[in-house]
């Protein structure tokens, strides 16, 4: 179960309390005490893919200017096989269109 340690930079025109409360309601996210506009947090998910999705979602949250990763534990993340079962699907692009 991979774990990330994060520093979330809150936009100066956003309310730190509101953003923190909203992030804290996100599953797998635990927020620490902010230092100015920099909010420490952890993010835990069942697998690397879900972790990656959750991290992207955090970066897209209203009021979040930037998310930096400072810690990554991945001892039980499986490495990529020679050819991942990833055909030339278009799901990523569909998601952005």
């Amino acid at each position: 179960m991979p774990i990330l340690g994060l520093v979330i930079g809150i936009s100066p025109d956003a309310s730190l309390d509101e953003v923190t409360a909203r992030l804290a309601r996100t599953g797998g996210v635990r927020c620490g005490e902010a230092a100015g506009s920099r909010l420490p947090a952890t993010l835990v998910r069942d697998d690397a893919a879900a972790l990656d999705d959750a991290l992207r979602a955090l970066a897209d949250e209203r009021g979040v200017l930037v998310v930096d990763v400072v810690f990554h534990e991945f001892s039980d993340v499986h490495v990529a096989p020679r050819e991942l079962a990833m055909p030339r699907d278009r799901s990523r692009r569909d998601a952005t269109s």
């Binding site: 990763v69 990554h72 990529a80």
Partner: protein
């Protein structure tokens, strides 16, 4: 406490420490105690620079049971202060792709068969001895400093052969020639501290939000504090960086030449240039009859006359930059109360006029006086972890020697021969083949001038990254006389095409040192063992040298008859470092680095002793001993910062080619690109990188989360162009140039957005060989090819359109 809870607490502790840290106020200290405290009993932590880009972030690497299991940003590292980007926090996983190369393999017909290391070394020695001048080495900015130094000494000091060049020729050679021809010495005078002090950042075809995310985050961190930093994005396409920019100014391909001239024209015409700076610190120069680093002297009056034709109207025509934007930028440069930082990377360097545009941006800063204060100057960024440390400083280029020396300079050759203790005349006086020429000659039959018969590739993937690979790479694979040796960690496209494959150790599987984009040299120790019989690249080079020594090759002996890489213990007995069982009896990196360090003082690029780097999170050269300690240099040429500047000088370009302590402002004209869109190929094609993948993707495509996030290459198209072609998002099109074609899915208004008439394709995906299409034309001075602009067409692939 359950293990998961412990790890969560550890993650939170790292986050709290990084969040609380005052922005980039370095308190130093040899060890990050906060990391050590949260170690737990079963994880051992040590520092290493990240394996990927040229930023040089330090990571704390956690090892348990001989395996890397965690990474943490090193909060004591001045570069990243605990932060890691998407690639950086996955860097540990790069070691553990399931298809690591673990044994030497020799081609037998259509397959590769396992052989022993001894057999492999014999094969290489045979190829060299069969035709010594026809042998070449091709390395990279991922060579560690000791690896590059070993290769450099082996080739130039051993084989008397200058055919050694790196892939960095393809990414930052124009920055080198720009710096050398302007300041008389390579590499930025400034450093990343500028990011904390600047008022405005001009991004010249640069996308740091994806390519140098930690540096970009450093800027964004200032915005979270409510500081105002103006970001101006000058580029041919919108990128992730653009979304953070205050202004995006679209430019035509090659338009940067006209833009820089246009800005200087407005400054001179209006009298708003910095007369005092120009008079005190600069001279003027113009190209001579033959393109070179020196040109011929010019006057300010010639400069002014040259600029007169770069009126806003003409500049708009050539660059696409509208007059009001040009005037706004000129106003910015005319305001010396603001500090302006210009950043660039491949956008300016991969350019058939790369040297010229580098010179112009330097000139713009000096003309306007935006130079010499923190946050105020021009700075090129590099894409590889040691493009600066290994390529530019060790000099693994076909024309260079370590420490900024040149093979064509008799005095420099003598100095190198002295340090290497090899007989006078050992180093050949003519530069070897640069990258494009090397591969061109490898691809041509011997009867047609193809004088390179064997290339040994280390730490790079030219089958995917050379330009126009259909001409520069593939023909040699059909020529039975040509032999390709590849040392690598994964079966890349180049490895699969090789005749001999050597499995290499990577990153923390070996000792290493690298140098980042701000002259910072970093060191790390081996932490885990490489898989199977994979071995260090430096050992491979030394072992081949020993084979040649044993076969009587005179070049593998120094002036005293000893082995070129002779190492003795304290009793004077030779340590057989060519035998891998004894390679780690001594720290070979330390031995190579201490020898290399002797070069560094010759051109005032002083490096500290190896042990200083063991303690530090990198030091920026020149590093000079003062009052018993070693002091790094943030800003070269600046009094009070650089100890080589004489008292009272203020600013002194002490490496000036003219020995006058002045930098050169160059007269350079706009020149059209070598290939432009026409009726047959109506689009501009630009290539580049993406956030998730590093270069050719040989490592990051094996990291499942990164591959999942960006699984395949694509072609960015403008919606109007896609509509005109009748294709929609995801449809497969055929992208073609005069050199080849590939099929790619279309991406419209995605992360990047091209302007109408333009295409963008990333090069990380080996299944989509975009470099079959790119142009091999290069800057006549730097020899760096242009991957950023050529003419292309798009057609619906068979069965590709959905409407």
């Amino acid at each position: 406490m359950r293990r998961r809870e412990f790890l969560e607490q550890t993650a939170m502790a790292a986050a709290v420490a990084a969040a609380a840290r005052p922005a980039f106020a370095v308190d130093g200290g040899p060890l990050d105690e906060s990391v050590r405290e949260r170690v737990g009993d079963d994880v051992r932590w040590d520092k290493a620079p990240c394996r990927f880009c040229g930023t040089g972030c330090t990571v704390q690497v956690g090892v348990r049971d001989g395996r890397v299991v965690a990474v943490s940003g090193d909060r004591l590292a001045p570069v990243n202060e605990g932060l890691l980007c998407m690639k950086g926090y996955h860097v540990g996983l790069a070691l553990y792709g399931s298809d690591r190369l673990t044994q030497p393999l020799l081609r037998r017909g259509e397959t590769h068969v396992p052989i022993s290391w001894d057999e492999a070394l014999d094969v290489i020695a045979d190829r060299i001895l069969a035709n010594p001048p026809g042998f070449a080495m091709y390395g990279s900015g991922q060579w560690t400093i000791p690896e590059g130094y070993a290769a450099q000494k082996f080739m130039k000091g051993g084989l008397s052969n200058n055919h050694i060049d790196p892939n960095a020729r393809l990414c930052m050679a124009s920055a080198v020639t720009g710096y050398v021809s302007t300041f008389g010495v390579d590499e930025p005078y400034n450093c990343f501290d500028d990011l904390d002090a600047t008022d405005a950042v001009l991004l010249w075809g640069n996308n740091p939000a994806e390519m140098h995310p930690v540096l970009f985050s450093r800027l964004m961190r200032r915005r979270t504090r409510g500081e105002s930093i103006e970001l101006v994005d000058l580029g041919t396409r919108r990128t992730r960086t653009t979304s953070f920019a205050d202004r995006f100014i679209p430019t035509k391909p090659q338009g940067d030449l006209a833009l820089a001239n246009g800005l200087m024209h407005l400054l001179v015409e209006s009298g708003r240039y910095d007369r005092e700076f120009v008079a005190a610190h600069t001279t003027f120069r113009k190209p001579g009859a033959t393109p070179d680093l020196h040109g011929v002297p010019a006057t300010f009056e010639e400069f002014r006359r040259h600029l007169a034709s770069y009126t806003p109207t003409r500049v708009a025509e050539l660059s696409g930059v509208e007059a009001r934007d040009l005037h706004a930028l000129a106003d910015l440069f005319a305001d010396r109360s603001k500090r302006i930082l210009s950043l660039w990377c491949m956008g300016m360097n991969q350019h058939t006029r790369g040297t010229a545009v580098n010179r112009l941006v330097h000139g713009l800063h000096m003309l306007s006086g935006h130079f010499g204060r923190p946050g105020d100057g021009p700075q090129s960024l590099t894409g590889q972890p040691s493009a600066c440390g290994t390529v530019r400083e060790v000099g693994t280029l076909s024309h260079a020697l370590p420490g900024g020396l040149l093979v064509a300079n008799a005095e420099h050759r003598h100095e190198a021969e002295t340090i290497w203790n090899v007989p006078a005349g050992r180093i050949a006086p003519r530069p070897g083949h640069h990258t494009v020429e090397m591969w061109d000659r490898f691809s041509r039959p011997a009867s047609e001038g193809g004088d390179i018969h064997t290339i040994w590739v280390q730490v790079t993937n030219p089958a995917q990254t050379l330009p126009n690979t259909g001409r520069l790479f593939e023909p040699s694979r059909r020529d039975p006389d040509k032999f390709l040796i590849v040392s690598d960690v994964y079966p890349t496209a180049t490895v699969r095409a090789a005749d001999l494959i050597l499995p290499s150790a990577m990153w923390v599987e070996k000792n290493g040192m690298v140098g980042n984009s701000e002259r910072r040299t970093q060191q790390w120790f081996k932490m885990v063992n490489p898989p199977g019989s994979a071995r260090d690249d430096a050992w491979q080079t030394i072992a081949v040298a020993r084979k040649l020594f044993e076969r009587g090759h005179a070049g593998m002996r120094d002036a005293d008859g000893k082995f070129l890489f002779h190492v003795a213990d304290e009793r004077g007995a030779e340590i057989p470092i060519w035998d891998y069982d004894h390679y780690h009896d001594v720290n070979v990196d330390r031995m190579l680095f201490e020898e290399y360090r002797r070069f560094s003082v010759l051109e005032r690029k002083d490096l500290a002793p190896y042990d200083e780097y063991v303690r530090a999170r990198g030091l920026r050269w020149p590093v000079v001993e003062q009052d018993g300690s070693w002091r790094e240099t943030r800003y070269r040429f600046v009094e009070g910062e650089d100890t080589y500047v004489e008292a009272g000088k203020g600013l002194q370009f002490y490496r000036s080619a003219d020995h006058d302590d002045r930098a050169r402002i160059w007269i350079e004209d706009y020149v059209a690109p070598p290939e432009v869109p026409d009726d047959e190929y109506p689009f501009w094609l630009c290539t580049g990188r993406v956030l998730e993948h590093w270069h050719s993707g040989s490592m990051t495509m094996r990291i499942a989360p990164l591959r999942r996030a960006m699984p395949e290459a694509y072609v960015e198209m403008h919606r109007d162009d896609a509509d005109a072609l009748g294709v929609a998002e995801g449809d497969v099109v055929s992208v073609a140039t005069r050199r080849g074609s590939i099929d790619l899915p279309v991406w419209i208004d995605g992360r990047g957005a091209v302007v109408r008439g333009s295409l963008f394709v990333p090069f990380f995906d080996e299944r989509a060989e975009i470099n079959r299409l790119t142009l091999e034309a290069y800057c006549p001075i730097s020899k760096q090819p242009d991957y950023k602009k050529c003419a292309a067409r798009v057609r619906v692939a068979a069965g590709g359109a959905s409407r």
